[in-house]
């Protein structure tokens, strides 16, 4: 118990130290979070009327972001499988980064859901036994359960490993391995359940398609790992953490498969809708062509299509996949592409046209944008803090001091541009 307290105190000291770049970055995030907080206080005061959601389009930008981020969170499993099921060493060293990303993404997910509900003060109605969670009837109840389970598993495993490393112990495998294995099905379950949440509504033909779950999984395995690769590059460049090219290439390969499956499934969906040409086509028409003169999402979805296809070519071609510049480009493209397609592109056409075929064209309001930005900043803040602690621990720069009480901090700066990776042995100027 005492050890935990010392560890906790040590991390607090650690996160307060860093380079100017680190301080600037954290300050920047804090400002965005404050703006988001201000936007939320306005929304709490006046109600969700400050958003552009209305009865016709009753979910909007918040839920779109939520849906996308569930995918990002689920993708951490892609690092866990090769690392812990196949014991592939290069990835095993970085798997903990994936878990921390999952934790940050789930935090954002929970925040997006919280800001979307009309009565956040009644959140306790969702707590089983205390409130009245409608389990197993409601898929939203399932989502509450699996999201929190997934958060707990990842947080426990990551903290447990880091905590043991801090005390220079080998983490107890008997504890971590079952949890890590459990995290694989639960990663799949958070995405499956989130897809079911839409999928199970007969009222919304755009979502009521059995291909939706595999589409969700495929797109998650594009966006999540793409974000991971970007993080790997940043971490490699600005911290002392070493990440092998081999590991990055492995993840890139997985993305190539995932983009292919994602495009294939989307194509299958489009064929079915356009060829049968039933009344249910309306939502797809709205998304891809515009309907009755309303076409706000059309440029976005085509941007997403172009990005996804370009990224697919970049990932498929070994030359561009192995080139770090084109690889980073591909990651950015597929991340944005999936963000559009699996965010607004998935949620909004479910409501347009609405169940009585009214068309209310939705675009997020200023408050929605600011608040969402604040939540993204919070997520990145959480992720930065987690990395600030995790990376020095993994590097052996942050561990218990020789007296067994205080902590040794070897990495005072954290965010510093590293010398060329070609020469990884050279010591950074500290």
């Amino acid at each position: 118990m005492k050890n935990i307290w010392h560890f906790y105190k040590g991390t607090l000291v650690l996160i307060s130290k860093g380079s100017t770049a680190y301080y600037c970055w954290v300050l920047f995030l804090l400002i965005l979070m404050a703006i988001g907080g201000f936007a939320y206080s306005r929304q709490l005061n006046e109600g969700l009327i400050v958003t552009n959601m209305r009865d016709q389009v009753s979910w909007g930008f918040y839920i779109s972001n939520f849906t996308f981020l569930v995918g990002v969170a689920a993708a951490a499993v892609l690092l866990v499988i090769p690392a812990y099921v196949y014991h592939w060493k290069p990835i095993k060293e970085i798997a903990v980064l994936g878990e921390l990303l999952a934790v940050s993404a789930i935090v954002m997910c929970l925040m997006f859901v919280t800001v979307d509900i009309g009565r956040p003060d009644r959140f306790w109605h969702l707590i089983p036994k205390v409130g009245l969670l409608n389990f197993p009837q409601s898929l939203l109840a399932w989502d509450v359960v699996v999201l929190n389970t997934y958060l707990m598993i990842n947080l426990t495993v990551a903290v447990f490993i880091l905590y043991n490393r801090y005390y220079k112990r080998e983490p107890n495998k008997a504890f971590t391995t079952p949890l890590l294995l459990l995290s694989i099905p639960s990663a799949i379950s958070i995405h499956t359940v989130t897809a079911f949440l839409y999928n199970g509504l007969g009222a919304r033909p755009f979502w009521n398609s059995s291909i939706l779950v595999p589409r969700f999984l495929a797109s998650a395995f594009c966006s999540g790992p793409a974000f991971m690769i970007l993080i790997f590059f940043l971490v490699r460049k600005y911290t002392k953490f070493k990440i092998e090219d081999e590991a990055i290439q492995k993840v890139a390969e997985i993305i190539a498969y995932a983009i292919f499956i994602n495009l294939l499934l989307l194509g299958a969906e489009l064929f079915k809708e356009y060829y049968t040409d039933t009344i249910h086509l309306a939502s797809f028409q709205y998304l891809f062509q515009g309907l009755h003169g309303y076409s706000a999402l059309v440029p976005w979805i085509w941007t997403a299509m172009i990005f996804n296809v370009t990224a697919f070519i970049l990932f498929l071609n070994p030359a561009t996949r192995r080139n770090n510049v084109t690889l980073v480009m591909g990651c950015i493209l597929v991340f944005i592409g999936v963000y559009i397609e699996k965010g607004m592109g998935l949620v909004i056409p479910g409501f347009i046209p609405d169940v009585l075929h009214e068309i209310y064209e939705y675009a997020p309001s200023g408050i929605e944008l600011l608040l969402s930005m604040g939540i993204w900043a919070t997520g990145l803040f959480v992720f930065t803090m987690l990395l600030r602690v995790a990376i020095p621990i993994m590097n052996g720069d942050f561990h218990v001091a020789d007296d067994g009480v205080g902590s040794f901090i070897g990495d005072q700066l954290f965010l510093v541009q590293q010398p060329d990776t070609v020469n990884p042995e050279s010591e950074p100027v500290a």
Partner: protein, 308 residues
């Protein structure tokens, strides 16, 4: 800080759910207007689900609400909790061959059920459809406004809650804040709803409406005769819907719903589906009847029919 502590202590003493109290109070402080956190606010905050209230607790809740509403609207507002009548399952009939789309029902409903004027909430939506196309929703006009109705070549289809026998909305609610009563009416506990709007996504009829802002009803227009599960004033951030005028129809004798009463062409019919002599049974057995979006198997108890 000291009076916050006092409130906290009060609640702890009052309620059974001790475990939760500290945590919820902490979060609640952030979410609620903190300064004037009176005992009433806390009582409301910790109010149990309607169906879990004991008789004494229910009495307390009703007294609190009546006092609150009466003060707010400057006249005596009563809140009933009349239970379902045994042996009754409500059914509604709407004669599409008669409806002329005059929207009298829309506004009678707004008035009877204390729907917000701004932002505007209306539980009934009347669609203008094309006679040549039939019930093709993609041809539906929601905002028609000619000098007189009916317009040539058109017919009208009012849509409101269909009181499904298998409601998709109650199934998806994560906190059981909405459910189907034994007389078939789908109701919402406005004090339990968390405002996630999943039910709105699930409803195939657009029958559920959200209080995007604090609802406003002028004091002189408030209908003071209310039911807990029906037309009592709603708070901000919860979902509401048609309840077949539960505050009227559960009485014995019970008045017809407001929309039925106002309809100038007598297109609206209402009665007990379990009574073979009722007008609703007669029209189901003798007229051409259809239910809206039958393929979704929601089994509405709202029957559109053609008397001629």
């Amino acid at each position: 800080m000291s009076d916050i502590k006092k409130c906290d202590g009060y609640v702890l003493h009052k309620s059974r759910r001790r475990m939760l109290k500290g945590l919820a109070a902490g979060i609640g402080l952030i979410a609620l207007p903190g300064r004037d956190a009176s005992a009433l606010v806390w009582e409301e905050f910790f109010q149990k689900h309607f169906r879990e209230l004991s008789k004494d607790e229910l009495k307390g809740v009703i007294a609190r609400l009546e006092k609150d509403y009466s003060k707010q609207y400057g006249k005596q507002v009563t809140v009933k909790t009349t239970p379902p009548i045994e042996g009754v399952r409500y059914g509604y009939g709407l004669d599409l061959s008669r409806c002329i789309g005059c929207r009298r029902c829309v506004y009678a409903c707004v008035k009877e059920n204390n729907q917000s004027r701004t932002p505007q909430i209306q539980w009934i939506r009347v669609l203008q459809l094309n006679k040549e196309k039939g019930i093709d929703l993609s041809e539906a006009e929601h905002y028609y406004n000619p000098a007189t109705v009916p317009e040539k070549g058109h017919f009208y289809m009012p849509v409101q809650c269909q009181q499904c026998e298998k409601p998709p909305c109650t199934k998806v609610c994560p906190v059981q804040a909405t459910w189907k009563e034994n007389d078939g009416i789908v109701v919402v506990d406005y004090n339990w709803c968390i405002g996630c709007r999943y039910c709105m996504a699930a409803c195939p009829y657009g029958a559920r409406h959200f209080n995007w802002a604090k609802p406003s009803v002028p004091s002189n227009e408030i209908n003071p005769n209310t039911h807990y599960l029906g037309n009592r004033p709603r708070p901000k951030g919860v979902v509401e819907k048609c309840t077949f005028c539960i505050q009227r129809t559960r009485e014995q004798p019970g008045r017809y719903p407001a929309c039925e009463e106002i309809c100038p062409v007598g297109a609206r019919k209402f009665g007990n589906l379990l009574d073979p002599e009722s007008e609703i049974r007669y029209l189901i057995e003798n007229k051409r009847v259809f239910i809206f979006k039958e393929e979704l198997n929601t089994q509405p108890k709202f029957y559109y029919f053609y008397a001629t």
